[in-house]
Symmetry: D2
Subunit: 135 residues, 4 copies
């Protein structure tokens, strides 16, 4: 299992006229959680992409429990529960608001794909080698 | 059942460096689909909000099948399959790319809530009266 | 001179907690105005980019006069006053709100650049040939 | 004079298909620079807004010199050169890329306005009292 956390301050740009963080902006927070989780493991997503492998999203599920507000510092917790098999990798997220309450949960499945062809590829060996000791 | 479609052109702002429409931007397309579905029924979301009722999102599920590309005109199909009960309303979406292929499916559940208190409220009578003949 | 207009409905995603359209979202409206102005001339920006020429922005100036609101249909007027010389092209914009009031003015200068090298290039002949009769 | 800096990592969400940070996203970076400059002075913008004063943008000017790239940590330098007079305050910005090169410059003028009426108001005394010793 891999667990990682990162902190993000809600921008004014991300609010909507309800006075909440717009629901569509959570996707970027989850992206940042994933990128930092990989960085903690020594994997820079930008290098992965330069090496010819990209990670488009296949499925996204978000549960909105407590609205996030402008200027709050949220904590995005990102967990990889399962060693990735085939062409996919799954991330589980919890978002905590500034008070520490669980504000949102999410699941995102991504596909390893070739930058050149756009087609799915197996989990790159460099990734599986780094992940293996954690499972 | 209520079915509605609207067309949206993918903006350059919505692309990412994979050359795809960024996965987080679909939420705005689904929002536009819902707003136009309600408008087709004679309900303007902006009036609903002025009357004191807002519709924050409770859960979001998106399946990404075929990437959307810059400048494509996509078709967002929005369906209300079930008459809303309690405090919630569910929308099902299909997104078709310019060629007419099913590029994405989604489900969004929203909660009727008071603008003043933020608390859930029953489906407003003006909404259920308009929806009833469709189910 | 080239003048073109396009209509855009303000999305909920584009509002902020002041209840206005967030100031950063105007850039996308201006982009859409430019793209439609070129399309009116028979130039598809997506084709231009495929042919190896891109148009990154060099300078942006926006004057905000009247706030834009959720669900308003705005009109973006895009004018090319000067035949592009050297490597640059300048667009002037007016944004009118739903009532027809001048809500914003803007000026954007873009640079023709090679997709491969990122370096500025002269106005492509296919563009100047199409533009010439208008000046 | 007041000078403040903050660091921001470019998100994947902020890239476009040129492989650059989309030009419209700079507005949010400038917003973050201003908010942190005020925070350094002991002014929380969220409190200002709760007290009934908001700060909509009046004019924006951005010069794009070097493209910003995914995953770069940029430095936003925010300077208030002039003590605000009347109803306006001006911020000057420099954005440095990860290498330390000056990638962009910007100027933003904002208006103090009443949340209730939307009308401009004089610089609030609490703000001018805090700013005075710096000029």
């Amino acid at each position: 299992m891999v667990v990682s956390t990162c902190k993000i301050r809600i921008r004014y740009a991300e609010t909507d006229q309800m006075g909440y963080c717009y629901y569509g902006n959570y996707s970027a927070f989850l992206e940042m959680g994933r990128v930092e989780a990989l960085r903690d493991l020594g994997i820079r997503y930008r290098d992965l992409e330069k090496s010819g492998i990209m990670l488009p999203v296949s499925t996204l599920e978000i549960n909105y429990r407590i609205p996030l507000r402008y200027d709050e510092i949220i904590t995005v917790e990102t967990t990889i529960f399962d060693f990735p098999e085939g062409t996919r990798i799954k991330f589980d997220n919890k978002i905590f608001n500034e008070k520490g309450d669980l504000a949102s949960t999410a699941k995102v499945v991504l596909v390893f794909a070739s930058v050149k062809t756009g087609k799915p590829v197996s989990v790159p060996r460099e990734i599986s080698t780094i992940l293996k000791p954690h499972f």
